[in-house]
């Protein structure tokens, strides 16, 4: 069991504040440009919607050098009339504390959760520090279901550009939904509302020093909440507009951390996901409205080129990870150029590729870092195919496509269950004829004996 060891600064702050009703956590690293706006929104949100509660804003910083901490402490609201508040504007505690441990969002969250626990907060909300579209209402939407309706976990629900959130749309949402049976649309959204009960559960976990310390934190929080039976809901927050992430950030590292966390948790909660079938909607709060979204330019050619390179160079890895039929299908796609207009990664193939990787991860085939990073070209192929397929579609039609993919994942769950505990069919030069056919779910599950 992990113990709660607060850094000295945080301990002093807790001793000074003593207790709080609500804690708002903002992880940051060099976000001086946007964090002031986020802190202001939090201050107004607390004053406007929870005027009777004691609120603390905790900025958990990863050693910023651009004045992020100063921006947090300087963010203040002098003009209550401008904000149309009927209640007097009390100052909210604002703290900017450096976290310790592995640099990453997860480590920043750990400090926030420990602080919330020590301050005996009734609810905690966490939001990203690079948000441009955040409003005070977000805090109401994230905290009210916890404080007044008894929910433990409030996931965000936003409108996003059709090409935004591709890891969510192509892997994390369909897989999480198929596994645990809850339709949480943005499982790695970044903004969450949490109850004390759930915070306690997070804090005592002993896997904080894994990928959870980095980008794996969001899916880790969501999965634990769903798999362990906490009360889960969603709140509609409008649009999510944020600064571009660190341009130096490596896609394969992000993919590795997020997908690695999903796969690792699949092993821990095997009994849970094996017992669940289909999926059910999750309660959605908030008034839904349409919003304008920043366009996202996409270079499809570059993604297909990356995939084809992967086909040429990584076959030796894919051949030991993928089922023979899937491997040959992927290889065939590698020979199709975009000009031929035949480049298309079908839902069925993509689903089985992801499931093959999950099984390889479980069975310890190859080193896990290499395995997960070798998924990058395949992921880019799927994204390129998705972009080409949805180029002329409006967001509701795109959502329908994502729904189809989710259903495909759900229908292929018997394939995953069958593959999970057994070794893959070895790849031969030609696609082998399946030796056995097992009917399970909508599509038949074909595996060689």
């Amino acid at each position: 069991m992990a113990e709660s060891h607060l850094p000295v600064d945080a301990r002093r702050a807790v001793e000074s504040i003593k207790r709080a009703d609500v804690v708002i956590g903002i992880p940051s690293y060099n976000n001086a440009r946007t964090i002031g706006h986020v802190v202001q929104a939090a201050c107004v949100g607390l004053a406007k919607y929870f005027p009777d509660l004691v609120g603390v804003i905790v900025n958990s910083d990863g050693g910023s050098t651009d004045g992020t901490a100063e921006a947090v402490l300087a963010a203040r609201l002098d003009d209550a009339n401008l904000l149309m508040l009927s209640t007097p504007l009390y100052g909210t505690h604002r703290l900017s504390l450096p976290y310790h441990g592995i640099p990453g969002k997860g480590s920043a969250f750990r400090l926030i959760f420990q602080m919330a626990k020590e301050l005996q907060a009734k609810a905690c909300a966490v939001v990203d520090s690079d948000l441009r579209s955040i409003t005070p209402e977000w805090f109401d939407l994230l905290l009210r279901p916890v404080l007044l309706a008894g929910y433990d976990f409030v996931a965000p629900y936003y409108h996003r550009h059709k090409y935004d959130g591709t890891i969510t749309n192509s892997i994390v949402y369909p897989l999480t939904r198929a596994l645990y049976g809850k339709r949480v649309r943005q499982p790695i959204g970044g903004e969450f509302g949490l109850s004390t009960k759930l915070l306690d559960r997070y804090v005592v976990r002993d896997d904080w020093d894994t990928d959870v310390a980095r980008y794996g934190i969001d899916i880790w929080m969501t999965t634990i909440a769903i798999a362990e039976g906490f009360r889960v809901c969603q709140s509609f927050l409008g649009a999510k507009l944020h600064d571009a992430k660190d341009p130096g950030a490596d896609l394969s590292a992000m993919l590795h951390q997020v997908v690695g966390s999903v796969f690792t948790l699949m092993q821990e909660y095997e009994r849970v996901w094996r017992s669940r079938r289909g999926s059910e909607p999750v309660e959605l709060f908030g008034f839904r409205f349409d919003v304008g979204l920043d366009p996202i330019p996409v270079n499809v050619e570059r993604m297909i080129t990356a995939f084809r390179r992967g086909c040429e160079e990584l076959s030796e890895i894919w051949s030991v990870v993928l089922e023979a039929d899937n491997f040959h299908e992927v290889r065939r796609l590698g020979g199709v150029s975009r000009a031929e207009a035949g480049f298309h990664v079908p839902d069925e193939l993509w689903t089985r590729v992801v499931m093959d990787f999950a099984c390889a991860h479980k069975q310890g085939i190859l080193g896990r870092a290499h395995l997960l990073k070798s998924l990058t070209p395949l992921y880019l192929a799927r994204v390129a195919s998705f972009v080409m397929e949805t180029r002329d579609l409006v967001s509701s039609e795109v959502e329908e496509k994502i729904e189809q993919l989710c259903i495909c994942f759900e229908n292929n769950k018997p394939y995953l269950e069958l593959r999970w505990g057994r070794e893959r069919t070895p790849v031969t030069e030609q696609a082998g004829t399946p030796a056995t056919t097992v009917a399970g779910g909508a599509p038949e599950v074909r595996l060689e004996a």
């Binding site: 341009p247 330019p297 570059r302 390179r309 160079e313 085939i365 070798s374």
Partner: protein, 234 residues
Amino acid sequence: MLETMQQILQGVLERLRYQMITYLPPLMAAAITLLGAYLIALLARWMLYRIFKGITIDRFLRRSGLAFMFDRSGRLRATRLAAEGAYWLILLAGFLLGLSVFNTDLTTQMTQRFVLLLPKLVVAGLILVAGAWLAQYLGRGTLVWAVNEGLPSPRKMAATVRLVIMFVAVVVAADHLDFARNVFLAAFIILLGAGALAVSLALGLGGREAVKRYFQEKSESGRDESERSLWNHL
């Protein structure tokens, strides 16, 4: 005349009898020892295949890539390694025991030398296996990294990494065995120098423009934020 021939024949038969009395029993003993060792080796291998469950080692073999290095299908298992290892070890012990039955200076010397060399051979073997594991791991890491970074010739880069690490492992193993130490050391230094020279020449003469173009493209794509934007959205 007849008597002389009879004496000669008797002498031959006497020598043959003497040689048979002297050498046949140890030869038969050696053969029996070897046969016994062979049977024990077979039995040990059969038992290990059925009894030994090396799950942890299996996982190590798969994750390290050693399973794929020794067997392309990746189905090398600890059970097989242990069984084959025991089989050959027992066979070797039987062979040495068989040799010692002759009790001659030569066989005794051979046995002694081999027994003295055995620990060194085992350590050298372990060095080679460790080198192979490291070569496989780093080679595969290089391959995946180079593909994801879009670097030219990823497979050649990975092969070079594997080759260099294996070569270093062979040099260290040879050094440990005191086997052609100077030859390997000289070869290592020469190859290292030649490699550095080749890279310098290649970059200086042929590849200068290509490298310049590559880095230019990299810096441009880094500046073109919009192009990377999709990659940065989870």
